[in-house]
Symmetry: C3
Subunit: 308 residues, 3 copies
C-alpha cells in the first residue's frame, strides 16, 4: 500500500487511508528504537537533506534520528551557511541541492508556503517540517499517534486546543487532522489570539478555558512563542498564566483520565505549571518518542523503503 | 593507474594524464548517484575531514555527498567552532586534527596558499576546495567534465570566460586547466576587473564581451561577488548587467549550440538574465551534478579506494 | 569485566580497577585507528548525542571520531540551535533528547555540575566532556594513557602541573586521577592562580616553577585561558611567559628524559615556547591520538559494545 501523495506538505493533502497507513507504519517501526541495535537497512544508500531555515532542536534531531535508524544518510543544511547570504534565490539553492540527487528534502521555513514552492522545483519528495503560520503536519501526525496509543481510539474523542490559535501552525494542522479523523475539537484562548476566520473550521470556540476543560478527553496546550511576539497580545505573562495556563486551579474540573499534550518547548509556569507538565496526565515525552516513529514512517513510505 | 600527486592543491600540480584519469573515474562513478541505492563500500572506514574556514553551501554539501556515496565518514569542522578563536594557530589546529588519523582533508580558506601550508603539515592528502583568490581546482575539473559530456571533445574548443577575472579563483583554475587541455580561452570583463598580469596567460583579452561571444563554443559567466567587493569596481550593478551580463541582447550573435556555464551562486539579473540561466543552453545544474562525481573521483583516487 | 559506574561524570567516581580497564581497553582499540579500514561494528545501531553547550574543536571531533570508528551514529547538538533560546529549561531539553532513545550522552557545559544534573534525568549513560571549573575526566584519562605509553609505568612517577591551577578542570581531574594511581604530584603557578583549598589535595605546592621542574618526570602545562580571564591575574602575558612559561631557560634543570604535555589549544609563546612544544620531549600530539582511543574505550564500555 502506498500514500496517495508524493509530498507531505500539509495535513490537507492526506486522505484518511493515508493517515491510517502512516500511523500503522509508525507503530510497526516504533519497536526498532527499543532494540539494542536501533537500526534497520530499509533506506541504506538514500540521502535525506535536512533544510532548516528556522532554528530547531527537536524537530531536526527527530528527523535525523529517524533517518539514521533506517540507515539513510543525512546532510544538514541551514540558513546561516547558505548561499542565500550570497544573493542566491531560495529556488536556485534548492535546485542546486536537487542536482546532487538527494532522495528526500525536509524543509522548515519561516514563510508559509515555501515547502510547496520547493516541491514544485524538485523531483524528490518534500516533507514540510513547519512553514510560517501555515502547517506542521508531522507534529499533528505524532500527536494523533500519541492520542491513539493512550485512548485506544480516535473517533468521537473531545480534544481542546488552548493558547495562541491564530499564530500556531501546530494548532492549524491539528484542527485539520483531528476533524478529518472524526474528533470533536474545541479551541480556547484570548480573543487577541483567535484567528478572524476561525468560524471556517468545524470547531467550538471559547474565550474562557473553563468552558472547554471539563469535557475534554485530551488537552493540547500551545506554546507562547515569546520570541515571535512582535506585538503585545496580552497584558503580561503572569496574567496569561493565570487565565489561560494549565495549573491545579484551572484543571480542577478536568476529567480524571484527561491527557495533557504540549508540542514543546515548554514555557514552564506560563502556559503550563510544572506540576501539570510532570504529572501522570502529561504525555509530552511520549509525543517526542512518537515523533521519531512518525518521521521514520514518512521517510520509509516516501522513499520506497525495502522490506523492514 | 594512480595520480602523480598526493594532494590536489591546484590545477598546476596536475598533468594531462592525471586530468584524464580524474574525468574517466568521475564518469564511472557518476552512475552510482542514479541508482536506487546510491552507495558503494569503496571508502568504508575512511574519515574525511571537511574544514571550511569560509562559508559554503554547495561545495561542502557536494564533498559530503560524494564522501557518503563512497561510504566514507565525514566530520565537519568550521571556523566558528574552531580553537582558532581560543588563540591557537591554524597549523596547530590542523596538526591536532591530523593526530586523530583522518584519511583526507578538504580545506577552504579565505587566504591564498593555506591548503599548501597545511599539506606540508599533515600526512594525509589535502584537497583545496578554494583558497582566497588563488585556485579552486575541483570547480575547474567539474567544469571540464561538463564540457566534455556535452561537446564530446575538449581540444580545440573555444571557451570565453566573462566577468571579474582578477578576483576569481574559478577563472584562474579554469584558465590553467583549459589551456593545459588544448582549449582556446578568451577572457572578457571591465578593465577594472582584469588582472594586471593577464598577459602571462595564454589567453585572448577583450574589454567588450561582444568580441568574444560570437566565436565561443562555451561561455563561462563569473559571479559578481557582491559580498567581497571592498571597493567599487564598476558604477552600478545595472550598468554591469547591461554591458557585461549575459542576456538576449548580448547573446544575439552567439553560436546556435553555445553552452552557458556558471559556478553559482547565480545573481539573477546581474551577470546573467533569468531567461538565459533557465534556457536550454544553460548547463548550470549539470555542473552541480558533475561536481559530486568529480569529488567522488578525487576522494576515491586519493584515498586508495577498493574496487568499485 | 565491567565498569563500576554507569556514567563518567568525574575521576572521583572511578576506582582503580575502572581506570585500569579503561586504559587496557583503549590500548586494544587504539590499533583500529591505524588500520586501512578504521572501523569495527562494535556499536552499530547505537546513537551517541554530542551536546556541547560550550564551543569545542578537538574534544567534540575526538568523540565524533571515536563513535564513528565503532560504527555508532552521532548527532550533534549545540547551544546555539537549542530550544533553550526559546525559553526551555536545560533539563527539559535533555529529557526531550532522552525521549528519542539515544544510547549515550556526551555533555560539555560552562557550569560545574550540569552533567551530574542531567545524569539524574536520563536513563542512558552520560560522559562529562568538561563542566565549568569542575572536572574533565576524559582529558585526565588520555593524559594517563599517554604517560603510561611512554614511561611504561605510572606508580611512583613525579608529575608537575604548571599554570592556572585554580581555574582549570584539567588540573583538577589530573590531580585526582594521578594521586589515585600513586603518582607524586606537584603544582606550580602564580599565587593568584592557586586554589584557596589546594592543601586539601595530596600535592606539593610551589610558586616558583624552578622548584618543581628538576625532579619532574612529566611536566603538564596548562593553557592560559585568555578568553575566560575576567580579571587580570598577572601583570602581562610577557611576564607570565617569562616566569611561568616553559622555555629553554626555565627547562635548563629538567631531567634529560622529561615528558612535556599540554591539553591544547596551545598559546605558543605564552605558557610554552614554540621550540619546547615542537621538541622531542613534547607528546602533545600523542595526547590527541590517545584521546580518540580513550573515548572509544569509554563509549565501548558504557554502551555494552559487542565483541571487537
Amino acid at each position: 500500500m502506498n500514500l496517495s501523495t508524493h509530498h507531505i506538505l500539509g495535513v490537507e493533502d492526506l486522505n484518511n487511508q493515508d493517515v491510517e497507513l502512516i500511523l500503522k507504519t509508525a507503530e510497526n517501526l516504533k519497536e526498532i528504537s527499543l532494540r539494542p541495535v536501533k537500526k534497520v537497512p530499509a533506506l541504506r544508500g538514500k540521502t535525506i537533506l535536512l533544510c532548516f531555515f528556522e532554528p530547531s532542536t527537536r524537530t531536526r534531531a527527530s528527523f535525523e534520528m529517524a533517518a539514521k535508524r533506517l540507515s539513510a544518510d543525512t546532510l544538514n543544511f541551514s540558513a546561516s551557511d547558505s548561499a542565500i547570504n550570497k544573493g542566491e534565490s531560495l529556488l536556485d539553492t534548492v535546485r542546486n541541492l536537487q542536482a546532487m540527487d538527494p532522495d528526500l528534502l525536509v524543509v522548515r521555513h519561516g514563510f508559509s508556503g515555501i515547502p510547496h514552492l520547493l516541491a514544485r522545483a524538485v523531483r524528490c519528495p518534500v516533507i514540510n517540517a513547519g512553514d510560517g503560520l501555515h502547517e506542521h503536519p508531522t507534529q499533528a501526525l505524532l500527536d494523533l499517534l500519541t492520542i491513539q496509543n493512550i485512548k485506544k481510539k480516535i473517533k468521537g474523542l473531545n480534544v481542546a486546543i488552548i493558547g495562541d490559535i491564530a499564530h500556531s501552525r501546530v494548532a492549524r494542522s491539528n484542527i485539520l487532522l483531528l476533524t478529518k479523523m472524526g474528533v470533536k475539537v474545541s479551541v480556547a484562548g484570548p480573543a487577541s489570539m483567535m484567528p478572524a476566520a476561525i468560524d471556517q473550521y468545524d470547531v467550538e470556540v471559547a474565550y474562557d478555558i473553563r468552558e472547554v476543560i471539563p469535557k475534554a478527553d485530551v488537552i493540547m496546550m500551545l506554546r507562547i512563542q515569546r520570541e515571535r511576539q512582535d506585538a503585545c497580545r496580552f497584558p503580561s505573562l503572569r496574567e496569561y498564566a493565570r487565565f489561560f495556563g494549565l495549573n491545579k486551579q484551572t484543571m480542577k474540573d478536568a476529567k480524571k483520565d484527561v491527557v495533557i499534550m504540549h508540542p514543546g518547548p515548554v514555557n514552564r509556569g506560563v502556559e503550563i505549571a510544572p506540576e501539570i507538565a510532570d504529572s501522570p496526565h502529561s504525555v509530552i515525552l511520549d509525543q517526542v518518542t512518537n515523533g521519531v516513529a512518525v518521521r521514520m514512517a514518512l521517510l520509509y513510505l516516501l522513499c520506497g523503503g525495502k522490506e523492514i
